[in-house]
Symmetry: D2
């Protein structure tokens, strides 16, 4: 950690800063430049990360050198993490595709959609039984009933299922049915929830918060991993910007940035990012070209009757056409779908 | 609700849109302009708000007319909400000031700070016993022990206390000690938590999410109110922008905007917004001048040893000077502190 | 245009609004709903776009129905615009690649780079002779000398050149040398400059402003087109967001959004968007997969000595490898490079 | 400047980085930590600011120590800059208020408004003769005719005038009439324009770009000052964020941040920030409380007929009431209006 000292700092202030560093067991390395004195703190930077150095008189600014996460970093693990879920590998050469309705609405419809996406080549079924909705007056999900339908869909079509968990009290119950637990964007910093899925044995799909930096997102992954659960899948789903032409702005550069920073697999949700079904296909193709390990896409047989996010759902036919295109792109970059 | 039809929509598509509106019990009012046909849906717009109209073929865009919240609006309640907490009124002529440390660290320190802020004129004590921290390795709060210290501070100095709740499972326990329950920015859309504090009898201080629109924020207030708890205090605490000179960007225009949209009281947290103690005073003054009903400010006797947010904490002496200045501003706008 | 009337508006206010609409030659269509009265203005909406309707007492909000641009819209032109520049077609099946150094530094280096990018398959040479720099103390470009080198590079390698114009006074001179005039992000709303390149016969590459909405960007294209120059190429180059891991956030969803809104060709600049050379390749591939008509990429033989943007420049060898990958992606989506 | 070396950098790479620093005449100070090697470059950091150090193999990141501007900093000038314009001091104890219509529309109206704002206590007249408009089809200003009316208004009411310059070619002509030259938000990085007003003898009011950081804004001030014109007034006018309830988000914390970074005076434009007349007053009051040296406010006798920005213009009566309130706030913070 580098501490830049104010130009008018007194000798007493500088000595006090040095003492502070030494009190925490690090060494202080002072370097007087032509315009500023800087102090390097040498040793375990993590110790200093929770010390409010900028509150010390004479300190102008503090520049951290190391990243604040460990378990998620390449320093901790030098091989890419590959997560095996019911025979499907997430993070390997094959790109996974998770598809299904935003919300589980009823059994017949769910199983119909599950069959369609399976036959188009999807490798996971997605569907929400607990739905975080901006309005208290909107459909909130079928809860455990919905989970049962998901489990039945899995049994019928033979694909693992991904579903969202919103409350620590539901984890045990949801984990009985689900293959992958999803943490939604709004809960990316619901630290209690993160801690408790960290104690769970199921892989966790962690969506990026709507205005989370990549670093904060990795810190949330770190929360889960610190509990012992290292099977975390990161999911880029668009960030909030000033642009209103799309629901959110899909930050595809997060994919190669994450590949440099972490060994964890990275997937992309184009549906929530763009918010309109006719923009999903180009963004899904771009995500694969950018190096994503997978996609999660909303598919509904009858979007105009959907209880949630109908505007952004593909019909099974459009999804099938997209899968055909994605296969060609995957091949072009040396992967497969 | 206004539905704008695509220029090339067929008669069948238009008829289908009209049928859809009527199926939900509203009337459809068609108006053919020179370049577009638009359809007005007349009746209870709330019914249509959860229908994915943009998924219907032929629909170009949908323009809502009404605000999506009710209980929080002036239509629902024509008088400003004034919340009485232990004799202190929030939302009245007098501006409330909540002050104290970011986190409760130990009893002696807390009581010392409580006495200082009381003597300077604060009307509430703030302090966190459960702390949401970006890093799993940072101090997470004293939990129930901290609540006990807060309760003792209340008894000793005679000011009501405000403290954060992060998990629905803790509400009952925290409500035993606290006078006001705080929902932090990261939990503004933790809908389970909102629903359950909505069933509680304690006033709720609802911080704005770090990238929440004012509308989304009011929808979160609506969640709480829909449960029966109408004592919601909105707290602006800075939003995330591209500017890095401050921790967040304090959106003070939210204060008069909210005053036009809702009867709920609005307070401002300058400490989290700016992130640096020496910027807190000008922003606190500006907040009062903009019409805020209160402030929540971090104060710590020894910021450089603080376990949380030391950089942005005022020392008791600076807080006292600020209170003196605030009194003059409050008087200048016809209020008092 | 739809005018939503305030719930408490008086009859006089409503009559006044109607009169205002009629005074501008449009018809007013009043519709009384259960909670709001709305007034539709039927006729040429463009006339009302510059009337401050929201300043009229009783008006709650104004909802425009039509897009504010005309010449750039599909309504004006039903075929995609294809621009022919020295035999290269921009906007056709073939994806164009513009490559070269950020700034023209000297003749030898420029010609060396031009040869390299040509042999790798680039179809245009890019290079700045006039450089907009954040600091007045940074290298500002070789000016006309640089243009001469560009012209010589064109003659030597046989590729058309793209270069930036920053000042209306330079247009005539730059147009003598350049094949395509570039308007940089910082000048996207330099309306004087837009008007004057609109009077010019050379195609214009219009970069998106760093925080321009897609609509504002198209309005800037409209400025150029309104002058008579319809050969405008839109270039997405990243927008400003809160994320600091990349220089800007590449908004690739702008590509399909623009394809729905305009007939103009759309290219992508991954170099300025990400700001780091090792993130350029994945974003270039993603841009092609998303449907871009071209790319503009910074290439430098010796980035660490570059006078501008060395961090984000590819070496010729990396550029060549990227071109090989891009060819496969282009083929996978039915196009070619 | 601090250079952080990649964990796996070779000795050759480190030596090469050191050589690079020395080649530019600075000293390299190597410090090997437990996890990273860092290299401090000691000497004139400005030299290295234009070297693409991040393009050098082995460099992980570069952390600048010093601010990139000089003339605008407190290091260059230790007293606040006070600019005298026709007897009005900008940056002194007295808060200046610039008021008038968005655009000059005709002589009679301008003089009427000028008289009204003068009698309410304004100290400058504002009015645009050259208008930057998003749409090429909107009113673009009266140009020189408008300047003549402004000059006449000055003569009639005895207040200096502020007006915008958009094109370097107009500077000489506008400077004949205007007392202060305004650079609009869209031209904050029109570097040619900045350079040329830097050669001019008139004070320059420099608006913040709609998504400019405070640092970039000060770099633009530096452009003007580097030309010899040190009379720069900074004007905060709202930044672009995701929030749509206001036209822009007024960043009032920029006021105290700038006061720490620069000796230049800082004023605030609440009208463009909020975009709605009924939000202007609270934000004007907040700006004064936050420490602004002045305000620039749009006033129009008949906003609903205004050719530009009618929605955000105060009527003279509201402006007068606001001035009365502002006087009380100014007094409360020890200043005057």
């Amino acid at each position: 950690m580098i501490i830049v000292v104010k130009p008018n700092a007194t000798t007493e202030e500088i000595d006090h800063i040095i003492k502070k560093i030494k009190d925490h067991g690090l060494q202080a390395h002072v370097s007087k430049g032509t315009e500023r004195t800087i102090i390097g703190a040498i040793g375990d930077e993590a110790i200093l990360q929770s010390v409010p150095l900028e509150a010390i008189p004479g300190v102008e600014k503090v520049l951290p050198i190391l990243k604040p996460f460990k378990l998620a970093s390449w320093e901790f693990r030098r091989e890419p993490t590959i997560i095996d879920v019911g025979g499907q590998q997430i993070g390997g050469k094959k790109i996974v595709v998770m598809a299904g309705p935003c919300a589980v609405e009823n059994k017949t419809l769910l199983i119909e959609i599950a069959k369609e996406v399976k036959s188009a080549g999807a490798t996971f079924i997605r569907g929400g039984a607990f739905k975080p909705r901006t309005s208290p007056y909107a459909f909130q999900g079928l809860e455990e009933e919905g989970l049962k339908y998901l489990a039945e869909a899995r049994d019928r079509v033979g694909l693992p299922i991904v579903t969202e968990v919103m409350d620590p009290r539901d984890i045990a119950m949801i984990a009985k049915y689900a293959d992958v637990l999803q943490i939604g964007a709004r809960n990316m910093q619901n630290f209690r929830l993160l801690k408790e899925v960290g104690l769970c044995k199921k892989p966790v799909l962690l969506k990026r918060g709507i205005s989370a930096t990549i670093k904060e997102w990795l810190m949330s992954a770190e929360y889960i991993m610190a509990g012992g659960n290292h099977d975390v899948i990161l999911c880029e789903r668009g960030i909030r910007t000033y642009e209103t032409a799309t629901r959110n702005t899909l930050d595809l550069s997060a994919v190669p940035v994450l590949k440099q920073m972490t060994h964890l697999p990275v997937i992309v949700d184009p549906s929530h990012a763009v918010g309109k079904w006719d923009l999903v296909a180009p963004m899904a193709k771009a995500a694969v070209a950018a190096g994503a390990d997978g996609l999660i896409i909303e598919v509904h047989s009858n979007p105009e009757e959907a209880l949630c996010d109908g505007e952004q759902s593909l019909k099974p036919r459009s999804f099938k056409l997209l899968m055909d295109e994605l296969r060609l792109i995957a091949k072009a970059i040396g992967r497969e779908i």
